[in-house]
């Protein structure tokens, strides 16, 4: 089957401090992949470098066998923290509508059907009643859902979601994971940075376990073996287990 993403020997550093070291993996089209690892493992850095938002030291990145440049408009990215101005004069529906921009091309304005599509995406994340609100007038979890709706509106082929479930209530998490599963069924490829190991197996087909180096990449149940997980969470594992995190479930 076709590879949606291939990363070969990727190295990334900040100010000479290497935080992503020698990562190689590839993702098949139509899979839902979780990226796990402790804080500071380089998960967000890996995503940003893949999207060329920060420069890499070395490494080769291919999207559907081609350079990233060709696929930029077909990638939706939801960062861990948006560095946006929450007082910006923009309403919720217009934020979602931004998702339609990449494919509109220069000089074209969104049409009525684009607006309807944006409203539909907003409905998918259960935020349709907030469409006229200014974006800063929402709670943190609601804002996160709006940005997810925007990613959906992009009709992308590849999705990069950096901790989309943080600060989101259980019901909405359930809704969103179902949306991701639907996307997967449509043949979209989704990468998700995730922290909750207990849900990892039920959510993802494949897991990428990182701690600066790549520890393991493979089927979820294979990565969630104690002897594998310990390698990444070396000092934290003895602490995780008594807390009821069952990594083999």
């Amino acid at each position: 089957m076709e590879h949606a993403l291939e990363i070969e020997r990727l190295f990334v550093s900040y100010l000479g401090n290497q935080v992503v070291k020698d990562i190689t993996f590839s993702v098949k089209k139509g899979s839902l992949v979780g990226i796990i690892g402790p804080n500071g493992a380089g998960k967000s850095t890996l995503m940003k470098a893949t999207l060329n938002l920060i420069s890499k030291d070395k490494g080769d990145i291919k999207i559907f066998g081609e350079p990233l440049k060709k696929w930029k408009k077909n990638i939706a990215y939801v960062p861990q923290r948006s560095d946006i101005d929450w007082d910006f004069p923009i309403t919720v529906i217009d934020v979602v509508l931004l998702g339609t921009y990449p494919k509109l091309g220069l000089f074209k304005r969104p049409t009525k059907s684009d607006r309807e599509w944006a409203q539909e995406c907003l409905k998918t994340v259960g935020m349709e009643n907030f469409s006229g609100r200014q974006i800063g007038e929402l709670s943190g979890g609601q804002q996160q859902r709006v940005f997810l709706a925007r990613a959906l509106a992009q009709k992308a082929e590849l999705f990069f979601l950096d901790e989309p479930f943080v600060g989101i209530d259980v019901a909405s998490e359930e809704t969103i994971i179902n949306i991701l599963r639907d996307l997967k069924k449509e043949g979209k490829t989704i990468l998700v940075v995730h922290h909750d190991l207990s849900k990892a197996e039920s959510y993802f087909d494949h897991l990428l376990l990182l701690n600066q180096h790549m520890i393991h990449y493979g089927a979820s149940e294979e990565v969630l073996q104690p002897e594998v997980i310990t390698k990444a969470y070396a000092n934290q594992f003895s602490f995780l287990q008594p807390k009821g995190v069952n990594v083999t479930s």
Binding site: L53, K73, D85, F88, P102, L104
Partner: protein, 291 residues
């Protein structure tokens, strides 16, 4: 007052210089309002101030050489923008420090150059504007810049919106944020040039920021904010020119004061953001809870 109004209109029909002044001021009000929206939303108010001051040496040199100061101003303005970026990216000097250093230096260079020129009246006019002396060529430059600004903002509205609101998204789908920034810097210097005659270098930044900030308090939509800012720019220009003419005051100052007055009104009485309504609402809520 009524007499004055009639006088003003009579003069307006009678004197071509006044017509040119009014036309140019209105044009400047519109373009400053439009560009100002992007300047304030990108957190570049200080940059606007810097660029507008930094065009002084370019203007002075053009003046000496007897050429249109359009080119001189654009060159020094853009050089300053690049210089600020260079200094802050290549040292521990922060962006605002770099701005402070670069623009005052450029401004000082400009003043030194101007002192070599014969008349100090020129300096006064460049610094504070002299709208009643607008020449035909100045007017056309302003019209040209106006058409360019309105055209660019209309054509690239989508791209400007995304790169201003969410630069990360813009970059990830391939918009050239850096070039958009520099294009905006070039536009900013052009707007400064256009405003030289009406408000002068020192007060250009007020025309960029105040009408846009007033609009910012009144709406939650960028497109509406742009129209409002342009409208406030026009109102400030018309009434500013009127007061300037009637009371024989410096046009730059009166225009800026009118826009400051509008800002104050919005600050206290804006339906959603106004301090007065907010206080009233809070009081009502408290009173309700007391019962």
């Amino acid at each position: 007052m009524k007499m004055n109004m009639i006088d003003f209109f009579e003069a307006l029909f009678q004197y071509e210089f006044l017509q040119k002044a009014l036309f140019t001021s209105v044009m400047v009000g519109v373009i400053c309002g439009i560009v100002g929206c992007f300047i304030i939303l990108r957190g570049m108010s200080l940059m606007g101030d810097a660029i507008s001051h930094a065009v002084l040496p370019g203007v002075a040199i053009s003046y000496m050489l007897g050429i249109s100061f359009f080119f001189g101003a654009v060159i020094t303005g853009v050089l300053t923008a690049i210089g600020i970026g260079y200094v802050s990216q290549n040292s521990r000097i922060k962006h605002d420090m770099a701005i402070g250093i670069m623009f005052t230096s450029m401004f000082a260079v400009g003043i030194v150059i101007i002192t070599f020129m014969k008349s100090s009246a020129d300096l006064y006019h460049i610094l504070f504007g002299n709208v009643l002396a607008v020449r035909m060529s100045d007017m056309w430059i302003t019209v040209g810049i106006g058409v360019l600004v309105i055209g660019l903002v209309t054509l690239f509205y989508k791209e400007l919106l995304v790169s201003t609101f969410d630069p990360t998204m813009a970059e990830s789908y391939g918009l050239p944020n850096k070039w958009i920034h520099y294009a905006l810097m070039v536009v900013l210097t052009m707007v400064t040039v256009a405003s030289l005659q009406t408000v002068g270098i020192v007060l250009v930044v007020a025309m960029l920021i105040t009408p846009a900030a007033t609009a910012y308090l009144l709406t939650n939509r960028l497109s509406v904010m742009i129209y409002f800012a342009a409208l406030f720019g026009i109102i400030a220009s018309v009434f500013g020119l009127y007061f300037s003419f009637i009371y024989n005051l410096a046009s730059g100052a009166t225009i800026v004061l009118v826009s400051a007055f509008m800002f104050a009104m919005a600050f206290f009485f804006s339906p959603s953001q106004g301090l007065v309504w907010k206080a009233l609402k809070a009081r009502r809520n408290r009173a309700e809870l007391m019962r």
